[in-house]
Symmetry: D2
Subunit: 502 residues, 4 copies
């Protein structure tokens, strides 16, 4: 009886509220059981959240940046104190192992920390004497109501990429987290109030397309950040821009790791294991493709990966000994498994087959074992499409140029990396590769919080990247003031005002 | 016989070329005569320009920034040397008086100058030790083929807002100037080659909607800048974004000047004359509305303006004694005149009526004399809509708050200014006004070239402003590299490589 | 028996240590009693502190900036928690009232906060392709052992201007606080260890000239910051530079407040009361001189001040109802009182005479009541010299120009302010005044922590100001790397390494 | 009869003037003949130059930055046009070959170019709402009269490091170039006037210690830049700072190039030839020491250098076929030759001996052939001291650590480089080496003009480096304005001023 399950609502104006008549189950991926339901906001609910944000805006905008920064600083402390609780919410709904959830939370905290530097980040440029007696300066002022729509795979971190900087800049915010794992974002919203964020500055609505479209079309929403798949990102960008707002929409990925013949293969294999199978491959910065330069390199990499996969432990995320948990939903499990079937059909060599995996005690969980393909070819579906699961493919090429050509021709350009010792190979690669985030011997080159996150090609729509310095510019609008003062009056006139004193 | 008129074509791959079967007359607004025709590019012609830009891109992108900067520096020198020629092309097609054309060219040169600082402007951010032994830095890399669509009112300057910075950043460019006055932009494109710009780096196509749509839809065009009216800006933003590209679209304006009771009225009147009637009011930074605080202020301002208008000289732009020239086309003349008729009908007081003006020797020219309305009300069409002609309206209010409320409620938010001596009034105004460019005792607060240009509300679609620092970010994409080096090998190993030398 | 008093030692290598044979009494200025003694470090003790800092340096320098930043972030939290304790230490040794002490601590915390942004602040500049295939970037690397010498008047805050940024940048530090009130700095050093600062990164030595000279001459100390009087600042700068180190030495002040005829006199008087008599005038940003423009202005200001002084409460800093506490020492009391005597002798009008003040229950305290002079003249000693006590003088001039001439001719150029409503007066003043920190209707224009602190003329020796952005540059040295990679080898060579795979 | 030689004077207030009774011969190093004499300014002459600079300051300071920038931009064009003339002046007095002189002039032009970006570079930081209703911003204002003292080895370039940025920032300048080759600096000063620099903004005095000491002691000189040897730099820093001014003093160098076993030896040898013998080794960025890692590396490097030296052509700089010219003076020739003798005595292996060289037709020229030592040891004088001549020494070590230890222990830390293909070796080296300018496969890592120049340890005294971003800070002083406006008056009051209109 799903009506007996605890129900997750929305967070509007500093209150837990219900809203919308439709709802949806939230599963524990390790058990395969629905354990909660989530309300799906209807248009009116989303509009209420927007209205709350609009109401909170004037006072919050007028709060000096240093005070706003300190709320972020307090939040950082609270997140550190409550990180275990947040991790357990993540694991219960997303499935990832606890250590991985903690990594996500840490990264999120770093974004809150960066938002707390906002006094420094909001500095405008001041020019004395742009003309005789004329000064000019720029200010980065808040936009008003802003919004974010975030994916299931980092339920705590990606929201923290967005709203802390948005509100630190003086905006108010409406967040629509993934309806599959909304609890951690909601919990953090409550911590924010405890940290001093006034009600209405941050609102959270759960929902689906109806909620999304309401945010896209409402003219009160000035800017919208999105992270998700490319088709949705493109839809968001197109519809949001058509409604006159600024939009940054981060989409899918198919990140290639190039392994050069001079690379330290043991290191590379170890790095690739985490990059390919960490969080069950459900990361837009995961490495689902290895491009080995030379057959000797390919042979060594495949052998190394095969051996490492044997040692990997798959199971419930709550058990700290596990390396990998389940996929997020039954449907996603079927989809990923279908890609593996497809790869076999297309003629790639399935070196390790994780399809038969059963986890004792979790027989209904959405577990798929690690899969490894060799001899993947660029024309195969498993090469072209984003799988978002624990499936790693090895492509064999003869030269670095060939490897780079593959990457540059691919639809996506989110992340990539190269394993080499050679300075020139690294420099040539990082200069000419058409990818936004590049690692040199770093498998997941997610920029630190004081740099910005974003891909190229169809991995990002918009001009400014996520978090870091670009986020400051995204969440503010520029105002340029040009000022001169007429040269008669108080200054020269002072003496004439008091002639009797001469 | 229009076929006898000189025909203006396109500039593709460093060549004057024809393209497209349709053409359109280009008029001299002072005489009212068509003196040239301009070819309207068809899809294939625009695609040829894009292809030329795409071909030129790899070599240009690999040219060190300092070399690209020096082409801009050379161009600056050439523009200074040929400014008279450029001004005559402007006046012949746009109609503005020579001094005004020169002002436009000077501003354009300043943008070229700023583009020549590109070595400084392209600096990325470098962080040593983002983690132990890991470094990270960002680069602002070129986008590829970029494009610009520019309006008739600043035929030389607005193109120079765009393409010099775009190419200085390593992009190539396709410019579609206004088909009403394309000659100055074409001439400057040729000077750019003389300055050292390789063929194909800048292409110019003339055209209308067919050309525009081709630029909007072609996936090879990575970014597009537009300046024009708001309805078109909105169309450009929406369609360009739907095609996945980054777009900045600057639209219309209705700039209010607030005159406070403490202002120096003579100064203000003098400033307003130029701001309202300069370039026949055909400027997105023109002041078509004065908001006088207090009836005494209003009375003095209206009286001053009326007197000043009597002294203004209207006539052909080629005569250096004239203050104001004709409107750009017959159609535009009719439209502006219609607004004056409308204002009278709506009940505003027409203090000065310029509708009957005849200029001796230029009886067919598109001349409209300066018009001045008092008692304009916010609900009137002449208050709400952008007229883009020599029509100034005075609105009377009682307080600064009331003046600011009017401005903040208006659809547009491009520029505004306040005339006052009072520091607090100026600060309160500049902080709370919802306008992107604010002047304090400066009637046309166009930012200098080292700041950026852009309005708020429906005056700009996109997140980054035009020229200045924002343009650098608009014309580049961020790449973030994260690098570590494995700690075995040449460094520690050196000694082991040469055991015999121990 | 002074040997019975508690003895204050040094903090070296994370330990409370003794060192030096000489010692000195530490007084409670409210009671006039010596309540502690402080050891005066000999050369060997200071060298031990330097050695500790040198030993701690390599590990601390290699600690990633984010980790160093977090120690600052922790310290901020601890300072907030323990601010009451710190304030009581300040009041017991310096005498200032509790509210004033709290203000000092808050400002200090803001500097710690700014130091915690160090990941952002340490970013270097990266340029791709400074030549073909050549990249160049800059890094701001730590210096090594750095030092600070701080004055009695802000015993907690001024040390926090220095060492948190120095250590956040990767340096280690030796602090020599004022020997008159060293306890709060020592206490904070212990909190820093609690916050995670490794032993030896911050050392505190108490002492006098012997300690100072040791720091100045020791070649291991790379940089030295000083705040104190101008003669000592000049000595420090000269001797420290002669020893080859970088030095910033902030000296004395004689800050003028200009009151214009259009100023809101009530506001100005209220602002001046705090600026003149707060902390008993013992602030380098205090206002000891008012320059009234016009006799009418002067008359109103003097009358207002006289009235306000009557309402001021002077007494022990521990009593929260008091506005002003005692002077710091008996000697300083005598010196300040001597200046009042001198002013009378020189012919200034002593409007309020605070010399006779007795505070019940604190008859031996170093209390001097507020003193107010009118008709002060530029040639008087009380005009020229820094008094550093509760003595305010009013100078009468006829014009702003005359006021500015006085300020610009004065030996010092630390701070100044103007009271006016007039934008032009403010702009003209701030542009042309030869003073480093300028207030417009702000009596104590101490820059916030994210800007920098420093005077002009003989108020600062060196080129970089204290705290804020300048401090980052002061506590780091620039390293510029230029890099190219030879274009043969792994990259192109890859294919040749594996010919059999063709 | 030396009285018959042309006499070189000073350039003060836009005029060629004489001044001082002492004079000195200026030699052509290729012929060994005195061909001119130079007047040595006495105290009064230098003071006249300072007075001229002081007089020119107020007007120049008030000139908007963009206008100052354009003078630099004009100068850049003039320098390009007259570079051949400048080169011939350099060769005639310094001796360096024409191609080398041209390189120097190009680098100098790049500094002028960077100074022309000054509108961008002078931007201050603006913060809205540092407190409620309070704004704060910083400005980088000019200092006043500044000065520079430059060495013989880059007679055109080093002055252009200094004065263009100083004057672009609004200062005026007194330059004292080297009295051995003053003509190119004087000639450029005249071009600057042609470019639009007002008389007095730049003054040039020739002289020796008397002139130097006058500049150091005069309180009107606010800042002084020096480039020369370390003992003099230390003297300048100490004496200039003692006179209360800001000083940056760049001293000597002994730059090591590390060659790793994996380096491309041919490339390295070719790079080292230019770095060691270019400009006869008279460069503070020359490479006089190679540290070869491993005997095999050393053997190959020495063999390669020996072979390359045979092909090098030494002769008069006016002959375009020559690679290396003479040393600058007879005395310097003797000193360098003495170092070679000393090296032989100390036991280093003199692989190539250039001491006997005679250049046909230039028998009296100060020519010394290239000298190459192998087996140089750290304790030898030729290792420790700066020779500043065509003498290259090879030191043999076993590991990179050993190489780095040598460099880090050396007195100087100006430049260094490493030849390797290995990313990790390069990164470890650049991170840990105590040297200000680091090359990776770049033998002379002189930063480009948009980065800054400066060494560490005893190669630079002061905190800010030369040219580039640091120079902007060096030649300006920070002013921080904090502003609030009282909230009564014109703004709220407006309505009450006009009650009759209600």
């Amino acid at each position: 009886m799903s009506q007996a399950l605890p129900s997750i609502g929305h967070w509007i104006d500093g209150q837990n509220v219900t809203g919308g008549v439709r709802s949806q189950d939230v599963f524990n991926p390790a058990t395969g059981q629905a354990e909660k339901t989530v309300l799906l906001a209807d248009k009116a609910t989303v509009q209420a959240a927007i209205a709350s944000a609009e109401k909170a805006y004037p006072t919050w905008r007028a709060t000096p940046p240093l005070k706003r920064a300190r709320v972020m600083s307090n939040l950082k402390t609270l997140l550190e104190q409550h990180s275990e609780k947040i991790c357990s919410l993540i694991t219960a709904e997303h499935g990832k192992v606890a250590g991985d959830a903690l990594g996500e939370v840490q990264r999120g905290i770093e974004n809150v920390e960066y938002a707390s530097y906002v006094t420094e980040l909001l500095k405008g440029e001041h020019s004395r004497n742009v003309g005789p007696g004329i000064d000019s300066w720029s200010e980065l002022q808040a936009l008003g109501v802003t919004a974010g729509i975030t994916p299931f795979n980092f339920p705590a971190m990606v929201p923290l990429w967005m709203w802390p900087m948005a509100v630190a800049c003086g905006n108010t915010f409406v967040l629509k987290p993934s309806e599959r794992d909304p609890s951690s974002a909601l919990y953090i919203a409550q911590l924010a109030v405890e940290a001093g964020l006034p009600p209405g500055v941050l609102n959270v609505v759960n929902g689906d397309k109806e909620a999304v479209d309401t945010l896209l079309d409402d003219r009160r929403v000035q800017a919208l950040s999105f992270v998700g798949s490319t088709p949705i990102a493109e839809y968001i960008y197109s519809r949001g821009c058509a409604a006159g707002k600024r939009v940054q929409a981060l989409g899918g990925a198919k990140n290639h790791a190039v392994v050069m013949p001079d690379a330290d293969i043991d290191n590379a294999v170890s790095a690739l294991m985490g990059a390919a199978y960490g969080s069950c491959g459900e990361r837009c910065m995961a490495i689902p493709l290895v491009v080995a330069v030379g057959d000797k390199t390919a042979h060594a990499v495949v052998a190394g990966l095969k051996e490492a996969i044997q040692k990997m432990k798959v199971g419930a995320g709550t058990d700290g000994r596990n390396d990998m948990g389940p996929l997020v939903t039954k449907q996603h499990f079927e989809k990923v498994k279908g890609y593996v079937d497809q790869g076999v059909k297309e003629g790639a060599t399935l070196v390790v087959d994780g399809r038969g995996l059963k986890v004792a005690g979790y027989e209904n969980g959405f577990f798929l074992g690690a899969c490894l393909f060799d001899h993947v070819k660029p024309e195969m579906v498993i090469y072209r499409e984003e799988i978002f699961g624990p499936v790693l493919g090895v492509v064999r090429v003869k030269t670095l140029e060939e490897a780079m050509h593959l990457i540059n021709e691919h639809e996506y350009g989110n992340g990539t990396c190269i394993f080499t010792r050679d300075g020139e190979a690294a420099r040539y690669f990082s200069d000419h590769i058409l990818v936004g985030m590049v690692g040199v011997n770093v498998p997941l080159p997610v920029p630190v919080a004081y740099h910005s996150f974003g891909g190229w090609k169809r991995s990002l729509f918009g001009d400014l990247h996520g978090y870091g310095p670009d986020a400051v510019r995204f969440y503010t609008k520029r105002k340029t003031i040009t000022q001169r003062w007429p040269s008669a009056g108080v200054r020269e006139g002072a003496i004439f005002s008091f002639p009797s004193t001469k």
